[in-house]
């Protein structure tokens, strides 16, 4: 239990996936322009990441390891994630068209969100148990969402600010992210696994 709580705290704050570990920077820069899209993306990521960690962990432990096929890890994981995203998209469209309206456009983007693959790989690498792995997936996704939503909030205000011409667009976003990351350095070393 103690370990699970540490995992949650560490991967939301100390080792924040976006601001400290640099996973999922592309969507972080890409969809943080508006709060609305940021929230949509966050929900989609939490959903897919949790599911992906669960499935890849099972695939690794019960298929790849017993068969001695660990070298197929990357291929398997990325295929599982791509398939999962496709499945979620199809199911969502059938079951809840409203939710699909909200999340649908973000789902294809998630396949190439490296945070998802990173969570799957790290869960196996850190030798987490199934429960720890799933909690790790949720925590990492929440950390990602938090960074994304904070960033969206800042960028909405940044629209009104006068930014030097050369720094407009991605440049100022990166510098803002840097300052945000600086703030998160305060959590450094607070907890380790």
């Amino acid at each position: 239990m103690e370990k699970l709580i540490s995992i949650i705290f560490i991967y939301i704050f100390v080792e924040n996936f976006v601001l400290q570990r640099f996973f999922g920077i592309c969507p972080f820069l890409g969809v943080s322009r508006k709060m609305e899209t940021a929230v949509g993306m966050s929900m989609a990521v939490v959903f897919v990441m949790t599911l992906a960690t669960l499935v890849t962990w099972l695939a690794y432990t019960y298929v790849l390891v017993p068969l001695g096929l660990i070298y197929l890890q990357i291929v398997t994981f990325i295929l599982v994630i791509a398939g999962l995203v496709q499945l979620v998209e199809t199911v969502l469209r059938k079951i809840s068209p409203t939710l699909y309206q909200g999340l649908g456009i973000f789902l294809p983007l998630i396949t190439t969100n490296c945070a998802v693959l990173a969570v799957a790989l790290l869960a196996v690498q850190n030798e987490f148990t199934l429960v720890e792995a799933v909690v790790f997936g949720i925590a990492a996704a929440l950390g990602f969402s938090m960074a994304l939503i904070i960033m969206a909030g800042i960028r909405e205000r940044l629209e009104l600010a006068k930014v030097p011409k050369a720094l407009q667009g991605t440049a100022i976003t990166l510098i803002t992210a840097g300052i945000l990351s600086l703030a998160f350095m305060g959590f450094k070393g607070m907890l380790t696994l």
């Binding site: 601001l19 999922g24 070298y71 990357i74 990325i78 693959l117 100022i172 990166l174 992210a177 840097g178």
Partner: protein, 211 residues
């Protein structure tokens, strides 16, 4: 005469990848490894070259198979092809460059989801002939490597005060007593350094009227 113009196209493909379509500074793709591994120059170079190798190989194979892969399953096929090359690169690094392998860590398997590679497969290799895809891969791969070189050189010199640390050519740029600005080897410094470099390229490209 025809070979001459062909040559030109290929050269253009390469130079376009390095300058006008520079994946980092112009297309702003593949940001995760760009920010994560550029603490030391040697890691940045290693990552750049590994990505370039994967990109060139996948570009060629995808272009060669482009007529045989049905449109509906092209993305999964591309991903499998890319993942295969990534795994090969991972194994080779583990066997022959274990130090670099340890330094790059999980970012080697993450080359699979580097948007540059899938992006090139979609935008170029899936439509164009093999040779042009090869040169496009070389160009974009070099462009990525050059970008990582610039960023990691900057971060290493300012953040650690060294140049090419961990190699036979290591130099203390400002002498041993220099107190480096350690924030540049931290994640925060990565964002800020890349942001400033992006700003700088914007200015330069504007001055040179390239667009």
């Amino acid at each position: 005469m025809k070979t001459m113009s062909n040559m030109n196209i290929y050269l253009q493909d390469i130079s376009r990848g390095i300058v006008r379509d520079n994946p980092t500074f112009r297309l702003v793709l593949g940001m995760c490894p760009t920010l994560a591994v550029t603490v030391y120059l040697i890691n940045g170079l290693g990552m750049g070259l590994s990505t370039a190798v994967v990109l060139i190989c996948s570009n060629v194979v995808i272009s060669a198979l482009r007529r045989y892969i049905p449109d509906q399953v092209r993305i999964p096929c591309y991903i499998v092809i890319i993942a295969t090359f990534v795994t090969v690169v991972e194994m080779l690094l583990k066997a022959f460059q274990p130090k670099l392998y340890a330094a790059l860590g999980v970012f080697i398997p993450l080359i699979v989801v580097n948007c540059i590679i899938l992006g090139r497969a979609e935008a170029f290799a899936g439509k164009k002939p093999v040779l042009r895809s090869l040169f496009d891969g070389i160009g974009i791969g070099l462009g990525f490597t050059v970008s990582l070189f610039i960023l990691s050189a900057l971060r290493e010199v300012i953040g650690s005060g060294t140049f090419l640390a961990d190699t036979a050519y290591a130099v203390h740029v400002f002498g041993e007593s220099f107190e480096p600005m350690a924030v540049f080897s931290q994640p925060a410094g990565a964002f800020i350094a890349l942001g400033l470099l992006l700003g700088l390229t914007n200015v330069i490209f504007k001055k040179l009227k390239i667009d």
